[in-house]
């Protein structure tokens, strides 16, 4: 069974079509790259999967559960690390994780164990009681990742997870994500750092103006020694004005 199945997804904002008849699937255990320019429809698609946005047409299932018909169960199967720091800045990392676990229906005892585990895994123990707003960009990013994993979802969606992160931490996060994927976690990654996608992902989709323009194994995008970046630029380039 595919962990993520999107069929004929369309999202309109008035007359504007943000996502146009998008279909794709992500297999269990896959590390999947989802690329596109700003405004191409990546975030809208992610929002449709996670419930932040409604969609106009199509179906989305996560681990076989329809995200609209059985939205509550579906949401327990997805974890999202968004591009923006959408947290209560005055909460501590421990509180952020503890509260998020609560929203997912985890008991107090479960949360206490899980929160300590994640703080440890992400090197946040030392910063556990500091307010989020006082943390550096890199540590904030770690908190976002840990929050997405608090309920141990089947599908982890990472929207620009290394934006604003220094090189050392970026490599650390890559290592962590690789390990997580090796342990069987299905991951969808969007990033403007194409070397990151090339390094981590086994399959890639490219979206442009709301339409899927390419989908395949990484090797198809990098055949003949080409860099992913070149293929990406070719597939998403605008026709020159006459």
């Amino acid at each position: 069974m595919n962990t993520l199945e999107i069929k004929n997804l369309t999202k309109r904002y008035g007359d504007t079509v943000a996502v146009d008849d998008l279909s794709l699937s992500v297999k269990k255990g896959e590390f999947f790259g989802f690329l596109g320019k700003n405004g191409a429809g990546k975030s809208t698609t992610i929002h449709a999967i996670t419930g932040i946005a409604r969609f106009s047409e199509g179906t989305i299932t996560v681990s076989g559960v329809d995200v609209v018909k059985d939205y509550r169960l579906a949401r327990t199967k997805v974890g999202l690390s968004p591009q923006e720091f959408n947290v209560d800045m005055f909460k501590t990392p421990r509180e952020i994780l503890y509260f998020m676990g609560g929203y997912y229906g985890m008991s107090r005892a479960e949360r206490l164990v899980r929160v300590d585990e994640l703080l440890e895994q992400f090197g946040l123990t030392e910063y556990a009681e500091k307010e989020f707003r006082t943390l550096s960009g890199g540590y904030k990013r770690r908190v976002m990742l840990a929050r997405a994993l608090v309920h141990d979802p089947d599908l982890l969606i990472l929207d620009e997870p290394t934006a604003g992160v220094d090189v050392e931490l970026r490599h650390e996060l890559w290592k962590y994500l690789e390990d997580l994927n090796k342990k069987g976690k299905t991951i969808v990654l969007t990033s403007h750092y194409l070397e990151e996608v090339e390094l981590l992902c086994s399959r890639i989709a490219i979206i442009n103006k709301g339409k899927l323009v390419a989908l395949g194994d990484k090797s198809e995008f990098t055949s003949g020694g080409r860099k992913l970046e070149h293929t990406y630029l070719e597939l998403t380039k605008e026709p020159k004005a006459v």
Partner: protein, 259 residues
Amino acid sequence: MKKSIGINWIGLGTLVYQEIQRFVRVSVQTLVTPWISALLYVAVFGAIVGQGIADVKGVRYIDFVLPGILTMSVIGAAFAHSSSSLYIQRFIRHIEELLVAPLSHTEMILGYVIGAVARGVVVGLGVLGIAVFFGAAHLSDLFIFLLYMIAISAVFGLVGVLVGLWANSFEQLSALNTFVIMPLSFLGGVFNSVDMLPESFQTIAQWNPFFYFVDGVRYSMIGISEGSMMLGGIMTAALIAVLWVGTFVLFERGWHLRA
């Protein structure tokens, strides 16, 4: 095998806890400020100005005015709580934590409203505590007193949720309070008996739900009612029902909530 999820009690409890933590964390702003305002109102209008006013409806002016001040404090606290909470969460997109979680819209609305009720009741009890120092803390019917505090907080908790959803600026957030809540509170018999109003205002007062809120609390505290308690109860229950349905419909549509 798929497993359906029933009511997310832990999720709801967490949201309620978060809402309570939110106002406790800034208690000087959320609790102490309305208590000081109430203290000043009671001291100036009740104790100082009230000395020069003859009994109203057979009771000291301070005893008559205190339930109105308490009601006004409860209304302000409940409305401020849910409106600012939802608005700020939308503004910084912190609301997405709830949108991606397995919480139903009923649970989300309940979470905000219970938070508003908690803040309203705590503020109300604090004002009652202040009244003790002025010898004006009467409780003729504790059950009705608590019922009215909870019901009034629920009404304005729901109004606050609607305004928190609608507002796109801090100015809009305060508009309803300035143009609707404050004027209707003052015209609802907070500081005066309805009999003291000009005839045209007396007619308006009969249609002003704030009059019934103040009247209900006043009855529960000093046993005096100027309107129909039955009508007040029905109006309050009807308001809660209508506001609940309206809020639920907007949440279901994702208005200003889900793109």
